[in-house]
Amino acid sequence: MLSYLVRRLLLALPSLLGISVILFCILALAPGDPFSDLASDPSIPPSVAAALRAKFGLDDPVYLRYFHWLVAMLHGDWGFSFASRIDVSRLIMQRLPTTLFVIGASQILALAIAVPVGVYAGVRPYSFFDQVASSLALIGFSLPTFFTGLVLILVFSVNLHLLPMVYRTDMGGSGLPLAWAYIRQAIMPVMVLALFQGAPWTRFVRASVLDVVRLDHVTTARAKGLPERVVVMKHVVRNAMIPVVTLVALQMPVIFGGAIITEQIFRVPGIGSLLISAILANDTPVIMGVTFVFAILVILFNLIADVLYGWLDPRISYR
Protein backbone atom coordinates (compact mmCIF):
# COMPACT_ATOMS: atom_id res chain seq x y z
CA MET A 1 0.00 0.00 0.00
CA LEU A 2 2.73 2.44 0.97
CA SER A 3 4.74 1.74 -2.18
CA TYR A 4 1.55 2.22 -4.22
CA LEU A 5 1.07 5.62 -2.60
CA VAL A 6 4.67 6.61 -3.23
CA ARG A 7 4.39 5.49 -6.84
CA ARG A 8 1.22 7.55 -7.34
CA LEU A 9 2.94 10.53 -5.78
CA LEU A 10 5.90 10.15 -8.13
CA LEU A 11 3.51 9.89 -11.09
CA ALA A 12 1.83 13.11 -10.00
CA LEU A 13 5.11 15.00 -10.17
CA PRO A 14 5.37 15.06 -14.00
CA SER A 15 1.80 16.40 -14.20
CA LEU A 16 2.66 19.16 -11.76
CA LEU A 17 5.77 19.97 -13.77
CA GLY A 18 3.72 19.91 -16.97
CA ILE A 19 1.22 22.34 -15.48
CA SER A 20 4.00 24.62 -14.30
CA VAL A 21 5.48 24.58 -17.83
CA ILE A 22 2.10 25.50 -19.33
CA LEU A 23 1.59 28.27 -16.78
CA PHE A 24 5.03 29.67 -17.42
CA CYS A 25 4.62 29.46 -21.20
CA ILE A 26 1.38 31.42 -21.03
CA LEU A 27 3.11 34.06 -18.97
CA ALA A 28 6.22 34.15 -21.16
CA LEU A 29 4.23 34.31 -24.41
CA ALA A 30 1.96 37.05 -23.15
CA PRO A 31 2.60 40.42 -24.67
CA GLY A 32 3.80 43.23 -22.49
CA ASP A 33 6.64 43.16 -20.02
CA PRO A 34 7.00 44.54 -16.52
CA PHE A 35 9.72 46.96 -17.58
CA SER A 36 8.01 48.47 -20.60
CA ASP A 37 7.28 51.58 -18.54
CA LEU A 38 10.99 52.03 -17.90
CA ALA A 39 11.85 51.86 -21.57
CA SER A 40 9.44 54.65 -22.46
CA ASP A 41 10.34 56.83 -19.49
CA PRO A 42 12.76 59.54 -20.75
CA SER A 43 14.11 60.28 -17.26
CA ILE A 44 15.68 56.82 -17.01
CA PRO A 45 18.77 56.37 -19.18
CA PRO A 46 18.72 53.25 -21.37
CA SER A 47 21.80 51.92 -19.60
CA VAL A 48 19.99 51.89 -16.24
CA ALA A 49 16.97 50.17 -17.78
CA ALA A 50 19.24 47.57 -19.34
CA ALA A 51 21.05 47.04 -16.03
CA LEU A 52 17.72 46.54 -14.26
CA ARG A 53 16.61 44.07 -16.90
CA ALA A 54 19.86 42.16 -16.49
CA LYS A 55 19.54 42.21 -12.70
CA PHE A 56 16.09 40.64 -12.78
CA GLY A 57 17.15 38.18 -15.47
CA LEU A 58 14.61 39.35 -18.05
CA ASP A 59 17.04 38.85 -20.93
CA ASP A 60 18.01 35.32 -19.94
CA PRO A 61 17.03 32.46 -22.24
CA VAL A 62 13.56 31.09 -21.60
CA TYR A 63 14.62 27.80 -19.99
CA LEU A 64 16.80 29.65 -17.43
CA ARG A 65 13.93 31.97 -16.55
CA TYR A 66 11.63 28.98 -16.13
CA PHE A 67 14.19 27.31 -13.88
CA HIS A 68 14.58 30.41 -11.68
CA TRP A 69 10.82 30.78 -11.46
CA LEU A 70 10.35 27.12 -10.51
CA VAL A 71 13.04 27.29 -7.81
CA ALA A 72 11.45 30.41 -6.36
CA MET A 73 7.99 28.76 -6.36
CA LEU A 74 9.38 25.67 -4.62
CA HIS A 75 11.00 27.85 -1.98
CA GLY A 76 7.63 29.35 -1.21
CA ASP A 77 8.69 32.68 -2.65
CA TRP A 78 5.53 33.42 -4.60
CA GLY A 79 6.06 37.13 -4.91
CA PHE A 80 4.39 40.16 -3.46
CA SER A 81 0.84 41.29 -4.08
CA PHE A 82 0.77 44.71 -5.75
CA ALA A 83 -2.74 45.42 -4.51
CA SER A 84 -2.75 44.09 -0.93
CA ARG A 85 0.88 44.82 -0.08
CA ILE A 86 1.53 41.44 1.54
CA ASP A 87 3.18 38.21 0.43
CA VAL A 88 1.15 36.18 -2.04
CA SER A 89 1.64 32.97 -0.05
CA ARG A 90 0.28 34.61 3.12
CA LEU A 91 -2.65 36.10 1.23
CA ILE A 92 -3.53 32.70 -0.21
CA MET A 93 -3.19 30.93 3.13
CA GLN A 94 -5.63 33.44 4.63
CA ARG A 95 -8.20 32.74 1.95
CA LEU A 96 -7.74 29.02 1.34
CA PRO A 97 -9.64 27.64 4.41
CA THR A 98 -12.86 29.41 3.38
CA THR A 99 -12.68 27.96 -0.12
CA LEU A 100 -11.94 24.46 1.14
CA PHE A 101 -14.81 24.70 3.63
CA VAL A 102 -17.34 25.76 1.00
CA ILE A 103 -16.16 23.19 -1.55
CA GLY A 104 -15.94 20.40 1.02
CA ALA A 105 -19.38 21.04 2.48
CA SER A 106 -20.97 21.21 -0.96
CA GLN A 107 -19.26 18.02 -2.11
CA ILE A 108 -20.53 16.13 0.91
CA LEU A 109 -24.04 17.47 0.32
CA ALA A 110 -23.84 16.64 -3.40
CA LEU A 111 -22.74 13.08 -2.71
CA ALA A 112 -25.39 12.71 -0.01
CA ILE A 113 -28.00 13.56 -2.64
CA ALA A 114 -26.48 11.94 -5.73
CA VAL A 115 -25.61 8.49 -4.38
CA PRO A 116 -28.99 7.52 -2.84
CA VAL A 117 -31.01 9.05 -5.66
CA GLY A 118 -28.77 7.57 -8.35
CA VAL A 119 -28.78 4.12 -6.77
CA TYR A 120 -32.53 4.11 -6.20
CA ALA A 121 -33.16 5.24 -9.79
CA GLY A 122 -30.63 2.79 -11.22
CA VAL A 123 -32.09 -0.19 -9.39
CA ARG A 124 -35.53 0.60 -10.82
CA PRO A 125 -34.74 1.83 -14.33
CA TYR A 126 -37.51 3.67 -16.21
CA SER A 127 -39.78 3.69 -13.18
CA PHE A 128 -41.64 6.88 -12.28
CA PHE A 129 -39.00 7.79 -9.69
CA ASP A 130 -36.23 7.25 -12.21
CA GLN A 131 -37.91 9.44 -14.80
CA VAL A 132 -38.45 12.27 -12.35
CA ALA A 133 -34.89 11.96 -11.00
CA SER A 134 -33.37 11.84 -14.49
CA SER A 135 -35.32 14.88 -15.66
CA LEU A 136 -34.38 16.85 -12.55
CA ALA A 137 -30.75 15.81 -13.00
CA LEU A 138 -30.76 17.04 -16.58
CA ILE A 139 -32.35 20.32 -15.56
CA GLY A 140 -29.84 20.78 -12.74
CA PHE A 141 -27.07 19.87 -15.13
CA SER A 142 -28.18 22.64 -17.52
CA LEU A 143 -28.47 25.33 -14.86
CA PRO A 144 -25.33 27.46 -14.88
CA THR A 145 -24.03 28.22 -11.36
CA PHE A 146 -24.24 31.96 -11.84
CA PHE A 147 -27.92 31.73 -12.67
CA THR A 148 -28.83 29.44 -9.75
CA GLY A 149 -26.88 31.73 -7.45
CA LEU A 150 -28.74 34.83 -8.62
CA VAL A 151 -32.11 33.09 -8.41
CA LEU A 152 -31.39 31.92 -4.86
CA ILE A 153 -30.37 35.44 -3.87
CA LEU A 154 -33.53 36.80 -5.46
CA VAL A 155 -35.77 34.35 -3.62
CA PHE A 156 -34.14 34.00 -0.22
CA SER A 157 -32.43 37.37 0.28
CA VAL A 158 -34.36 39.91 -1.75
CA ASN A 159 -37.89 38.56 -1.47
CA LEU A 160 -37.99 36.49 1.71
CA HIS A 161 -35.19 38.22 3.67
CA LEU A 162 -34.24 34.85 5.13
CA LEU A 163 -30.55 34.56 4.31
CA PRO A 164 -27.74 37.11 4.08
CA MET A 165 -26.67 38.03 0.55
CA VAL A 166 -22.98 38.54 1.32
CA TYR A 167 -20.58 36.14 3.02
CA ARG A 168 -18.57 37.72 5.84
CA THR A 169 -15.72 36.49 8.00
CA ASP A 170 -15.54 39.42 10.41
CA MET A 171 -18.79 38.89 12.27
CA GLY A 172 -19.01 39.84 15.91
CA GLY A 173 -20.60 37.77 18.65
CA SER A 174 -19.60 34.42 20.01
CA GLY A 175 -20.85 30.97 20.82
CA LEU A 176 -23.95 29.54 19.24
CA PRO A 177 -25.28 32.74 17.59
CA LEU A 178 -21.96 33.15 15.77
CA ALA A 179 -21.94 29.53 14.62
CA TRP A 180 -25.54 29.91 13.42
CA ALA A 181 -24.62 33.09 11.54
CA TYR A 182 -21.77 31.24 9.83
CA ILE A 183 -24.02 28.37 8.84
CA ARG A 184 -26.75 30.72 7.62
CA GLN A 185 -24.44 32.60 5.30
CA ALA A 186 -22.91 29.37 3.98
CA ILE A 187 -26.26 27.79 3.06
CA MET A 188 -26.71 29.44 -0.32
CA PRO A 189 -23.15 29.07 -1.71
CA VAL A 190 -23.05 25.44 -0.57
CA MET A 191 -26.48 24.75 -2.08
CA VAL A 192 -25.51 26.26 -5.42
CA LEU A 193 -22.33 24.20 -5.67
CA ALA A 194 -24.03 21.06 -4.41
CA LEU A 195 -26.76 21.36 -7.04
CA PHE A 196 -24.16 22.02 -9.72
CA GLN A 197 -22.25 18.84 -8.82
CA GLY A 198 -25.10 16.68 -7.56
CA ALA A 199 -26.94 16.69 -10.89
CA PRO A 200 -24.20 15.19 -13.09
CA TRP A 201 -23.19 12.80 -10.32
CA THR A 202 -26.73 11.47 -10.06
CA ARG A 203 -26.47 10.64 -13.75
CA PHE A 204 -23.09 8.97 -13.30
CA VAL A 205 -24.27 6.90 -10.34
CA ARG A 206 -27.46 5.84 -12.08
CA ALA A 207 -25.67 4.80 -15.26
CA SER A 208 -23.04 2.95 -13.32
CA VAL A 209 -25.61 1.12 -11.17
CA LEU A 210 -27.51 0.23 -14.33
CA ASP A 211 -24.34 -1.42 -15.64
CA VAL A 212 -23.76 -3.45 -12.50
CA VAL A 213 -27.28 -4.37 -11.41
CA ARG A 214 -27.83 -7.10 -14.01
CA LEU A 215 -24.45 -8.79 -13.63
CA ASP A 216 -24.29 -12.46 -12.66
CA HIS A 217 -22.91 -11.94 -9.18
CA VAL A 218 -25.91 -9.81 -8.27
CA THR A 219 -28.31 -12.48 -9.53
CA THR A 220 -26.37 -15.02 -7.49
CA ALA A 221 -26.60 -12.86 -4.39
CA ARG A 222 -30.36 -12.60 -4.87
CA ALA A 223 -30.65 -16.34 -5.50
CA LYS A 224 -28.85 -17.02 -2.22
CA GLY A 225 -31.78 -15.30 -0.55
CA LEU A 226 -29.89 -12.26 0.66
CA PRO A 227 -32.18 -9.40 1.62
CA GLU A 228 -32.51 -6.78 -1.08
CA ARG A 229 -30.81 -4.16 1.10
CA VAL A 230 -27.68 -6.29 1.41
CA VAL A 231 -27.67 -7.10 -2.30
CA VAL A 232 -27.86 -3.43 -3.22
CA MET A 233 -25.46 -2.11 -0.61
CA LYS A 234 -22.78 -4.78 -0.75
CA HIS A 235 -22.95 -6.17 -4.25
CA VAL A 236 -24.22 -3.34 -6.40
CA VAL A 237 -23.20 -0.05 -4.83
CA ARG A 238 -19.62 -0.94 -4.04
CA ASN A 239 -18.96 -2.09 -7.60
CA ALA A 240 -20.88 0.77 -9.12
CA MET A 241 -18.86 3.32 -7.16
CA ILE A 242 -15.59 2.37 -8.87
CA PRO A 243 -16.17 4.24 -12.15
CA VAL A 244 -17.96 7.01 -10.23
CA VAL A 245 -14.81 7.76 -8.21
CA THR A 246 -12.86 8.24 -11.43
CA LEU A 247 -15.52 10.51 -12.87
CA VAL A 248 -15.65 12.56 -9.68
CA ALA A 249 -11.89 13.01 -9.81
CA LEU A 250 -12.09 14.03 -13.47
CA GLN A 251 -14.71 16.61 -12.51
CA MET A 252 -12.39 18.34 -10.03
CA PRO A 253 -11.30 21.15 -12.39
CA VAL A 254 -14.98 21.83 -13.15
CA ILE A 255 -15.78 21.94 -9.44
CA PHE A 256 -13.12 24.56 -8.84
CA GLY A 257 -14.50 26.54 -11.75
CA GLY A 258 -17.93 26.42 -10.15
CA ALA A 259 -16.41 27.46 -6.83
CA ILE A 260 -14.83 30.54 -8.38
CA ILE A 261 -18.18 31.69 -9.77
CA THR A 262 -20.03 30.92 -6.55
CA GLU A 263 -17.48 32.81 -4.47
CA GLN A 264 -17.78 35.74 -6.82
CA ILE A 265 -21.59 35.83 -6.62
CA PHE A 266 -21.83 35.57 -2.84
CA ARG A 267 -18.63 37.56 -2.19
CA VAL A 268 -17.19 34.60 -0.31
CA PRO A 269 -13.65 35.67 0.65
CA GLY A 270 -11.93 32.56 -0.74
CA ILE A 271 -9.18 32.14 -3.31
CA GLY A 272 -11.68 32.16 -6.18
CA SER A 273 -12.86 35.68 -5.53
CA LEU A 274 -9.25 36.59 -4.80
CA LEU A 275 -8.39 35.43 -8.32
CA ILE A 276 -11.11 37.54 -9.93
CA SER A 277 -10.24 40.67 -7.98
CA ALA A 278 -6.54 40.12 -8.75
CA ILE A 279 -7.32 39.84 -12.46
CA LEU A 280 -9.40 43.00 -12.40
CA ALA A 281 -6.57 44.79 -10.52
CA ASN A 282 -3.76 43.49 -12.79
CA ASP A 283 -2.15 41.84 -9.77
CA THR A 284 -0.05 39.28 -11.69
CA PRO A 285 1.79 37.56 -8.78
CA VAL A 286 -1.51 36.79 -7.07
CA ILE A 287 -3.04 35.50 -10.31
CA MET A 288 -0.11 33.15 -10.84
CA GLY A 289 -0.14 31.97 -7.26
CA VAL A 290 -3.85 31.24 -7.13
CA THR A 291 -3.79 29.44 -10.48
CA PHE A 292 -0.94 27.31 -9.25
CA VAL A 293 -2.77 26.51 -6.01
CA PHE A 294 -5.80 25.39 -8.04
CA ALA A 295 -3.53 23.14 -10.11
CA ILE A 296 -2.04 21.60 -6.96
CA LEU A 297 -5.51 21.04 -5.50
CA VAL A 298 -6.70 19.30 -8.67
CA ILE A 299 -3.72 16.96 -8.62
CA LEU A 300 -4.15 16.34 -4.91
CA PHE A 301 -7.77 15.32 -5.38
CA ASN A 302 -6.83 13.06 -8.30
CA LEU A 303 -4.37 11.40 -5.95
CA ILE A 304 -7.04 10.91 -3.29
CA ALA A 305 -9.31 9.42 -5.97
CA ASP A 306 -6.56 6.98 -6.94
CA VAL A 307 -6.19 5.83 -3.36
CA LEU A 308 -9.96 5.46 -2.96
CA TYR A 309 -10.03 3.52 -6.20
CA GLY A 310 -7.49 1.07 -4.84
CA TRP A 311 -9.53 0.66 -1.66
CA LEU A 312 -12.84 0.15 -3.50
CA ASP A 313 -11.51 -2.26 -6.09
CA PRO A 314 -9.29 -4.98 -4.65
CA ARG A 315 -8.57 -6.18 -8.16
CA ILE A 316 -6.26 -3.21 -8.58
CA SER A 317 -2.92 -4.41 -7.35
CA TYR A 318 -0.75 -2.18 -5.25
CA ARG A 319 2.36 -3.26 -7.09
Partner: protein
Protein backbone atom coordinates in the same frame (compact mmCIF):
# COMPACT_ATOMS: atom_id res chain seq x y z
CA UNK B 1 -24.98 -10.95 -18.47
CA UNK B 2 -27.91 -12.46 -16.71
CA UNK B 3 -30.31 -10.04 -18.26
CA UNK B 4 -29.99 -6.81 -20.08
CA UNK B 5 -31.35 -3.42 -19.34
CA UNK B 6 -32.12 -1.38 -22.39
CA UNK B 7 -29.80 1.62 -22.51
CA UNK B 8 -32.75 3.92 -22.91
CA UNK B 9 -36.51 3.62 -22.90
CA UNK B 10 -36.58 3.92 -26.67
CA UNK B 11 -33.84 1.40 -27.45
CA UNK B 12 -35.04 -1.75 -29.12
CA UNK B 13 -34.52 -4.94 -27.13
CA UNK B 14 -31.48 -6.94 -28.19
CA UNK B 15 -32.41 -10.30 -29.66
CA UNK B 16 -31.44 -13.37 -27.69
CA UNK B 17 -28.00 -14.70 -28.42
CA UNK B 18 -27.13 -11.68 -30.51
CA UNK B 19 -28.96 -13.17 -33.51
CA UNK B 20 -29.07 -11.19 -36.69
CA UNK B 21 -31.96 -8.75 -36.87
CA UNK B 22 -34.83 -9.87 -39.06
CA UNK B 23 -34.44 -8.83 -42.65
CA UNK B 24 -36.52 -5.79 -43.40
CA UNK B 25 -38.56 -5.76 -46.51
CA UNK B 26 -37.27 -2.33 -47.42
CA UNK B 27 -33.75 -1.11 -46.92
CA UNK B 28 -33.59 1.78 -44.47
CA UNK B 29 -30.74 4.25 -44.56
CA UNK B 30 -28.85 4.99 -41.38
CA UNK B 31 -30.06 8.58 -41.30
CA UNK B 32 -33.68 7.46 -41.66
CA UNK B 33 -33.33 4.87 -38.96
CA UNK B 34 -31.71 7.39 -36.62
CA UNK B 35 -34.46 9.88 -37.29
CA UNK B 36 -37.06 7.20 -36.55
CA UNK B 37 -35.39 6.54 -33.18
CA UNK B 38 -34.85 10.23 -32.43
CA UNK B 39 -38.54 10.94 -33.04
CA UNK B 40 -39.50 8.62 -30.23
CA UNK B 41 -37.64 10.74 -27.68
CA UNK B 42 -40.39 13.32 -27.26
CA UNK B 43 -38.50 15.73 -25.05
CA UNK B 44 -35.60 15.76 -27.51
CA UNK B 45 -38.04 16.49 -30.33
CA UNK B 46 -39.62 19.37 -28.41
CA UNK B 47 -36.15 20.69 -27.54
CA UNK B 48 -35.07 20.55 -31.17
CA UNK B 49 -38.18 22.53 -32.10
CA UNK B 50 -37.39 25.12 -29.39
CA UNK B 51 -33.84 25.43 -30.69
CA UNK B 52 -34.97 25.90 -34.28
CA UNK B 53 -37.53 28.55 -33.26
CA UNK B 54 -34.99 30.32 -31.11
CA UNK B 55 -32.39 30.34 -33.90
CA UNK B 56 -34.95 31.73 -36.34
CA UNK B 57 -35.90 34.41 -33.82
CA UNK B 58 -32.27 35.35 -33.36
CA UNK B 59 -31.62 35.50 -37.11
CA UNK B 60 -34.75 37.42 -38.09
CA UNK B 61 -35.32 39.18 -34.78
CA UNK B 62 -33.84 42.43 -36.06
CA UNK B 63 -36.53 42.53 -38.73
CA UNK B 64 -39.41 41.91 -36.32
CA UNK B 65 -38.05 44.13 -33.58
CA UNK B 66 -36.00 46.91 -35.16
CA UNK B 67 -34.99 48.68 -31.95
CA UNK B 68 -31.35 49.68 -31.56
CA UNK B 69 -29.51 47.91 -28.77
CA UNK B 70 -27.96 51.14 -27.56
CA UNK B 71 -31.04 53.34 -27.71
CA UNK B 72 -30.78 55.11 -24.36
CA UNK B 73 -34.03 56.32 -22.81
CA UNK B 74 -33.68 57.71 -19.28
CA UNK B 75 -37.44 58.11 -18.99
CA UNK B 76 -37.83 54.32 -18.98
CA UNK B 77 -35.10 53.04 -16.70
CA UNK B 78 -35.42 49.54 -15.23
CA UNK B 79 -39.07 49.18 -16.18
CA UNK B 80 -40.71 45.77 -16.24
CA UNK B 81 -42.11 44.07 -19.33
CA UNK B 82 -44.63 46.18 -21.25
CA UNK B 83 -45.89 46.59 -24.81
CA UNK B 84 -43.20 49.11 -25.62
CA UNK B 85 -40.50 46.87 -24.16
CA UNK B 86 -41.55 43.17 -24.14
CA UNK B 87 -38.73 42.18 -21.80
CA UNK B 88 -38.41 45.50 -19.97
CA UNK B 89 -35.49 47.90 -19.96
CA UNK B 90 -32.10 48.06 -18.25
CA UNK B 91 -30.44 50.73 -16.11
CA UNK B 92 -29.89 53.01 -19.13
CA UNK B 93 -33.38 52.48 -20.46
CA UNK B 94 -32.12 50.27 -23.28
CA UNK B 95 -34.51 47.66 -24.62
CA UNK B 96 -33.68 44.27 -23.11
CA UNK B 97 -35.43 42.32 -25.89
CA UNK B 98 -33.32 43.95 -28.60
CA UNK B 99 -30.18 43.33 -26.57
CA UNK B 100 -31.15 39.72 -25.98
CA UNK B 101 -31.62 39.14 -29.72
CA UNK B 102 -28.22 40.62 -30.41
CA UNK B 103 -26.59 38.78 -27.51
CA UNK B 104 -28.15 35.46 -28.42
CA UNK B 105 -26.44 35.56 -31.79
CA UNK B 106 -23.12 36.09 -30.07
CA UNK B 107 -23.68 33.42 -27.44
CA UNK B 108 -24.85 30.82 -29.95
CA UNK B 109 -22.14 31.56 -32.49
CA UNK B 110 -19.48 31.37 -29.78
CA UNK B 111 -20.95 28.02 -28.73
CA UNK B 112 -20.95 26.59 -32.24
CA UNK B 113 -17.53 27.99 -33.18
CA UNK B 114 -15.89 26.76 -29.97
CA UNK B 115 -17.48 23.34 -30.52
CA UNK B 116 -16.00 23.25 -34.04
CA UNK B 117 -12.55 24.08 -32.66
CA UNK B 118 -12.86 21.39 -29.99
CA UNK B 119 -14.13 18.78 -32.45
CA UNK B 120 -11.46 19.58 -35.01
CA UNK B 121 -8.60 19.35 -32.51
CA UNK B 122 -10.16 16.36 -30.75
CA UNK B 123 -10.75 14.35 -33.92
CA UNK B 124 -7.26 15.16 -35.17
CA UNK B 125 -5.50 14.20 -31.93
CA UNK B 126 -7.68 11.12 -31.44
CA UNK B 127 -7.17 9.96 -35.03
CA UNK B 128 -3.39 10.43 -34.86
CA UNK B 129 -3.18 8.64 -31.51
CA UNK B 130 -5.46 5.85 -32.68
CA UNK B 131 -3.55 5.31 -35.90
CA UNK B 132 0.01 5.72 -34.68
CA UNK B 133 -0.12 3.64 -31.47
CA UNK B 134 3.17 3.27 -29.60
CA UNK B 135 5.06 6.25 -28.28
CA UNK B 136 3.09 8.86 -30.26
CA UNK B 137 -0.13 7.52 -28.78
CA UNK B 138 1.37 7.54 -25.30
CA UNK B 139 2.63 11.09 -25.61
CA UNK B 140 -0.70 12.35 -26.94
CA UNK B 141 -2.65 10.61 -24.21
CA UNK B 142 -0.32 12.04 -21.58
CA UNK B 143 -1.04 15.48 -23.02
CA UNK B 144 -4.73 14.66 -22.91
CA UNK B 145 -4.54 13.67 -19.23
CA UNK B 146 -2.50 16.77 -18.48
CA UNK B 147 -5.13 19.02 -20.08
CA UNK B 148 -7.85 17.16 -18.19
CA UNK B 149 -6.17 17.92 -14.88
CA UNK B 150 -5.60 21.60 -15.65
CA UNK B 151 -7.68 24.03 -13.60
CA UNK B 152 -9.59 25.26 -16.61
CA UNK B 153 -11.45 28.34 -15.48
CA UNK B 154 -8.43 30.00 -13.78
CA UNK B 155 -6.35 29.36 -16.89
CA UNK B 156 -9.10 30.67 -19.19
CA UNK B 157 -9.28 33.82 -17.11
CA UNK B 158 -5.50 34.13 -17.06
CA UNK B 159 -5.14 33.76 -20.83
CA UNK B 160 -7.92 36.21 -21.57
CA UNK B 161 -6.51 38.69 -19.09
CA UNK B 162 -3.04 38.48 -20.63
CA UNK B 163 -3.91 38.47 -24.32
CA UNK B 164 -7.10 40.44 -24.76
CA UNK B 165 -5.60 43.91 -25.19
CA UNK B 166 -3.16 42.82 -27.90
CA UNK B 167 -5.69 40.85 -29.88
CA UNK B 168 -8.28 43.59 -29.66
CA UNK B 169 -5.78 46.08 -31.03
CA UNK B 170 -4.87 43.64 -33.78
CA UNK B 171 -8.26 42.74 -35.25
CA UNK B 172 -10.73 45.04 -33.55
CA UNK B 173 -12.78 44.89 -30.38
CA UNK B 174 -15.58 42.52 -31.35
CA UNK B 175 -13.65 40.10 -33.58
CA UNK B 176 -10.66 40.05 -31.24
CA UNK B 177 -12.72 39.05 -28.21
CA UNK B 178 -14.67 36.53 -30.28
CA UNK B 179 -11.56 34.82 -31.68
CA UNK B 180 -9.85 34.75 -28.30
CA UNK B 181 -12.84 33.33 -26.43
CA UNK B 182 -13.59 30.73 -29.10
CA UNK B 183 -9.96 29.62 -29.30
CA UNK B 184 -9.50 29.33 -25.54
CA UNK B 185 -12.79 27.56 -24.86
CA UNK B 186 -12.26 25.17 -27.78
CA UNK B 187 -8.63 24.68 -26.85
CA UNK B 188 -9.58 23.46 -23.39
CA UNK B 189 -12.40 21.13 -24.37
CA UNK B 190 -11.03 18.77 -27.02
CA UNK B 191 -9.85 16.04 -24.63
CA UNK B 192 -13.02 14.01 -24.24
CA UNK B 193 -13.55 13.98 -28.00
CA UNK B 194 -9.95 12.90 -28.60
CA UNK B 195 -10.40 10.00 -26.18
CA UNK B 196 -13.68 8.99 -27.80
CA UNK B 197 -12.18 9.01 -31.29
CA UNK B 198 -9.10 7.09 -30.16
CA UNK B 199 -11.19 4.40 -28.50
CA UNK B 200 -13.33 4.09 -31.65
CA UNK B 201 -10.21 3.83 -33.78
CA UNK B 202 -8.80 1.04 -31.63
CA UNK B 203 -11.88 -1.10 -32.14
CA UNK B 204 -12.59 -0.15 -35.76
CA UNK B 205 -9.08 -0.64 -37.09
CA UNK B 206 -9.30 -4.36 -36.34
CA UNK B 207 -12.63 -4.80 -38.14
CA UNK B 208 -12.85 -6.86 -41.30
CA UNK B 209 -13.85 -4.03 -43.61
CA UNK B 210 -10.74 -2.07 -42.69
CA UNK B 211 -8.66 -5.20 -43.14
CA UNK B 212 -10.24 -5.63 -46.56
CA UNK B 213 -9.37 -2.07 -47.50
CA UNK B 214 -5.83 -2.65 -46.29
CA UNK B 215 -5.58 -5.86 -48.31
CA UNK B 216 -6.72 -3.97 -51.39
CA UNK B 217 -3.77 -1.66 -50.90
CA UNK B 218 -5.47 1.40 -49.45
CA UNK B 219 -2.99 3.82 -47.93
CA UNK B 220 -3.21 4.55 -44.21
CA UNK B 221 -4.67 7.99 -44.93
CA UNK B 222 -7.37 6.48 -47.14
CA UNK B 223 -8.19 3.82 -44.57
CA UNK B 224 -8.57 6.50 -41.93
CA UNK B 225 -10.48 9.09 -43.92
CA UNK B 226 -12.72 6.81 -46.00
CA UNK B 227 -13.28 3.83 -43.75
CA UNK B 228 -12.57 4.45 -40.09
CA UNK B 229 -13.58 8.09 -39.51
CA UNK B 230 -17.08 7.87 -41.02
CA UNK B 231 -17.81 4.94 -38.72
CA UNK B 232 -16.40 6.67 -35.67
CA UNK B 233 -18.45 9.81 -36.11
CA UNK B 234 -21.66 8.81 -34.28
CA UNK B 235 -20.45 9.32 -30.70
CA UNK B 236 -18.54 12.41 -31.84
CA UNK B 237 -21.78 14.03 -33.03
CA UNK B 238 -23.34 13.41 -29.62
CA UNK B 239 -20.30 14.78 -27.79
CA UNK B 240 -20.20 17.77 -30.13
CA UNK B 241 -23.82 18.63 -29.33
CA UNK B 242 -23.08 18.65 -25.61
CA UNK B 243 -19.95 20.71 -26.30
CA UNK B 244 -22.08 23.51 -27.77
CA UNK B 245 -23.99 23.70 -24.48
CA UNK B 246 -20.76 23.63 -22.49
CA UNK B 247 -19.21 26.34 -24.63
CA UNK B 248 -22.26 28.57 -24.21
CA UNK B 249 -22.00 28.16 -20.44
CA UNK B 250 -18.24 28.82 -20.57
CA UNK B 251 -18.70 32.03 -22.55
CA UNK B 252 -21.49 33.19 -20.26
CA UNK B 253 -19.26 32.43 -17.28
CA UNK B 254 -16.43 34.54 -18.66
CA UNK B 255 -18.77 37.40 -19.49
CA UNK B 256 -20.45 37.04 -16.12
CA UNK B 257 -17.09 37.43 -14.39
CA UNK B 258 -16.53 40.60 -16.41
CA UNK B 259 -13.82 39.08 -18.61
CA UNK B 260 -15.78 38.19 -21.71
CA UNK B 261 -17.38 40.61 -24.10
CA UNK B 262 -17.32 44.35 -23.35
CA UNK B 263 -20.60 46.09 -22.36
CA UNK B 264 -21.31 47.40 -25.85
CA UNK B 265 -21.41 43.81 -27.16
CA UNK B 266 -24.11 42.34 -24.93
CA UNK B 267 -23.81 38.56 -24.98
CA UNK B 268 -26.27 36.81 -22.67
CA UNK B 269 -23.65 36.35 -19.97
CA UNK B 270 -22.72 40.02 -20.19
CA UNK B 271 -26.37 41.09 -19.84
CA UNK B 272 -26.61 38.92 -16.73
CA UNK B 273 -23.40 40.47 -15.39
CA UNK B 274 -24.85 43.97 -15.83
CA UNK B 275 -28.18 42.87 -14.35
CA UNK B 276 -26.89 41.24 -11.19
CA UNK B 277 -26.49 44.50 -9.29
CA UNK B 278 -30.14 45.44 -9.89
CA UNK B 279 -31.61 42.19 -8.65
CA UNK B 280 -33.81 43.92 -6.07
CA UNK B 281 -35.30 46.61 -8.33
CA UNK B 282 -35.34 44.91 -11.73
CA UNK B 283 -35.32 41.11 -11.34
CA UNK B 284 -36.82 40.67 -14.83
CA UNK B 285 -33.56 41.80 -16.39
CA UNK B 286 -31.50 39.01 -14.81
CA UNK B 287 -34.25 36.42 -15.05
CA UNK B 288 -34.76 36.83 -18.80
CA UNK B 289 -31.08 36.66 -19.70
CA UNK B 290 -30.29 33.83 -17.29
CA UNK B 291 -33.45 32.00 -18.29
CA UNK B 292 -32.47 32.22 -21.96
CA UNK B 293 -29.09 30.65 -21.25
CA UNK B 294 -30.75 27.94 -19.17
CA UNK B 295 -33.40 27.22 -21.80
CA UNK B 296 -30.93 26.91 -24.67
CA UNK B 297 -28.49 24.80 -22.68
CA UNK B 298 -31.24 22.48 -21.50
CA UNK B 299 -32.67 22.13 -24.99
CA UNK B 300 -29.23 21.31 -26.38
CA UNK B 301 -28.66 18.74 -23.64
CA UNK B 302 -32.00 17.07 -24.39
CA UNK B 303 -31.22 17.01 -28.10
CA UNK B 304 -27.86 15.45 -27.23
CA UNK B 305 -29.67 12.85 -25.13
CA UNK B 306 -32.01 12.04 -28.00
CA UNK B 307 -29.14 11.89 -30.48
CA UNK B 308 -27.26 9.51 -28.22
CA UNK B 309 -30.22 7.18 -28.08
CA UNK B 310 -30.70 7.48 -31.82
CA UNK B 311 -27.10 7.07 -32.95
CA UNK B 312 -25.69 4.92 -30.19
CA UNK B 313 -28.54 2.84 -28.84
CA UNK B 314 -26.44 0.53 -26.69
CA UNK B 315 -24.68 3.13 -24.60
CA UNK B 316 -25.87 3.98 -21.12
CA UNK B 317 -25.59 7.46 -19.50
Amino acid sequence: MAGSTPASPIAEPVLAGGAAPPLRARHESLARESWRRFRRHHLALVSAAILVLMTLLLIFGRVIWPVAINDIDFAAQLTGPSFAHPLGTDDLGQDVFARMIYGGRISLSVGVAAMLVAVFVGVFVGAVAGTARGSVDMALMWLCDLFLSLPQLPLLLLIIYLFQTTLRKLVGMELGTFVLIVAVIGGFRWMSIARLVRAQFFSLREKEFVEAARALGASTLRQVVRHILPNAIGPVIVAATIEVANAIIAESTLSFLGLGFPPDIPSWGRILYDAKDYLDVAPHWALFSGGAIFLVVMAINYVGDGLRDALDPRRVL
